[in-house]
Symmetry: C2
Subunit: 327 residues, 2 copies
């Protein structure tokens, strides 16, 4: 089976059916031909995932397929956009069709959930890596950005923080609880969320007109909030104890003999949560609460925007976001 | 220097200045925000280049930067599109800033030539690989595709064929002519064109309304023409001797002791030429000739579209395009 047949057999099953997304010509030509939606702006983002860096080598093909699309969709969510199209560049070490089938199944699940259309790609040979480019649409002028946070705004985070840290720790510790016991359900839940993060698309879209700034948490809550603050030229005062943590982090057993505060800081400095961190004016508190109830998602106020450039705690102590350093 | 500083220092120099291409927000947020041009469709394509596969390991950083954007722009050319935006995913083995600077300089040259805007990207660590996603615009309904070739159409190729084959052979033979002599100028010209292919953007755009189908030659003339024929459900009769070959191939010295026909077949089966192969009705011959004169580009009629499914020579012998097989 050669490259073209491999693409034909598997990736074609993922390809756009062109349903209602302006896809005039999908996979199979030099380019796809796409009609952009009326009265909209496009938002685009691209992310590469490398085996052993962005996911552990032991990750299943299904989870790699799911996660590589999910982290890109999360960027669309952070802009308040609706997903339109994506392209997939995949570098494969060999023609392991069983692996490709699993990968496609994982990706297909998220395609079905979100309606995003695969419109192009490239398959090459080499060490496993996946680069995805996503395009979404927002009504003209309504995209959420990092640069709109104002002094006095509340700072919110969706869901809970720490699935990324706990899930990674579980994989690195080889699925073995420190006391040798079977994992509790909440630990398996953390692992599931680490491998199959759910992009907060509906939340992001609903935050248009409410949030003044928004970012998805991929590098760690503190590092990503710092990106917002730098872009908006403001600071933030956080109540670290108010950051909602995943049960796995609260249990603390995955991080050895650390204090709750240390666990909390680890979780806030770990990546791969894909929750949204956003700011909104005080007078939007009711809207935020209503949205949380409507979407059955926890939206927690964890601090407020202040003058300055950094993240401080109540007493004024600085909290530094480390983020992930590639080099 | 960490990842963000590296991006800041070098890749930011390439970033969109937003001049006249609808770039509302470029690099630096979760997504770029883009306003698509009115009355246009978008065409998108993506290609990955891997060191040692798509370019020899010895290729200079400048040439890698130039070529990786050029091969993507060539896909836009094949659709008759004008370049708008691109994103760049680059995986680097280390933070060799001198290499990154060279790479950016090569890419900058083509950005300046074509006006395409860099609007996003991702920098990761690993074996060198580059994935680029390009977006272009065409007036609604005017994109060139692979599926419009009709029986009776002429088959054309732009420029000359074989720079790709000759350039690669030169690199693989370690820049050493078989007789030990210094290379002639035409061989250095082939190498230059192999490393810095010029995407046929102006030609592609001018072919709208003239060509019935079009493709860029990346996998080899015969393989790429076969893609057009398959998509159009037709065959082609070629006059192999009429295919214009590069001086380097005509000299034959790079391919050892082969006949002219063997050299010709090698060149037609080798990739990396990035010329356009297109079909046009007989009654457009004057338009094609006028276009060739206007753009000072050789456009050679190499055969015609016939009923069938494959490429045959005058006598009916089948010509099989091998293309490049990744697996």
């Amino acid at each position: 089976m050669n490259e073209f047949e491999l693409i034909q057999a598997y990736f074609s099953t993922l390809a756009s059916k062109g349903v209602g997304k302006g896809v005039e010509l999908g996979i199979g030509d030099d380019c796809a031909i796409l009609t952009p939606p009326a009265n909209s702006q496009l938002v685009v983002s691209t992310d590469t995932l490398i085996a052993g860096v962005h996911f552990p080598d032991s990750t299943s093909a299904f989870d790699i397929g799911f996660k590589s699309l999910a982290v890109n969709l999360s960027d669309l969510a952070a802009m308040g956009a609706s997903p339109l199209w994506f392209t997939l560049c995949i570098t494969l070490p060999d023609r392991n069709t069983q692996w490709v089938e699993g990968f496609c199944n994982g990706m297909a699940e998220l395609i079905q959930q979100t309606g995003i259309q695969l419109v192009g790609g490239d398959t090459t040979k080499g060490p496993l890596s996946i680069s995805i480019h996503v395009t979404g649409a927002v009504p003209v002028g309504e995209a959420l950005t990092r640069h709109g946070a104002c002094v006095g705004d509340d700072v919110y985070v969706s869901g809970v923080i720490g699935h990324g840290a706990a899930g990674l720790e579980m994989v690195l510790s080889d699925f073995e609880a420190p006391d040798g016991s079977r994992f509790d359900e909440y630990l398996l839940d953390a692992l599931q969320r680490f491998n199959r993060p759910q992009p907060r698309l509906a939340l992001g879209q609903a935050l248009r007109g409410i949030a003044t700034s928004c970012i998805d948490i991929s590098d760690g809550l503190l590092a990503d909030l710092q990106h917002v603050l730098s872009a908006s030229e403001v600071g933030a005062r956080l109540v670290l104890e108010s950051v909602p943590l995943s049960d796995a982090v609260m249990a603390g057993c995955l991080f050895g003999d650390k204090s709750e505060r240390e666990n909390r800081l680890l979780a806030c400095n770990a990546g791969d949560d894909y929750e949204l961190c956003f700011t909104a004016p005080e007078n939007k508190r009711e809207s935020v609460d209503a949205l949380a109830a409507e979407q059955i998602v926890t939206l927690t106020r964890i601090g407020s925007v202040v003058e300055g450039a950094s993240i401080v705690e109540k007493g004024g102590e600085e909290l530094v976001g480390l983020g992930y350093q590639h080099f």
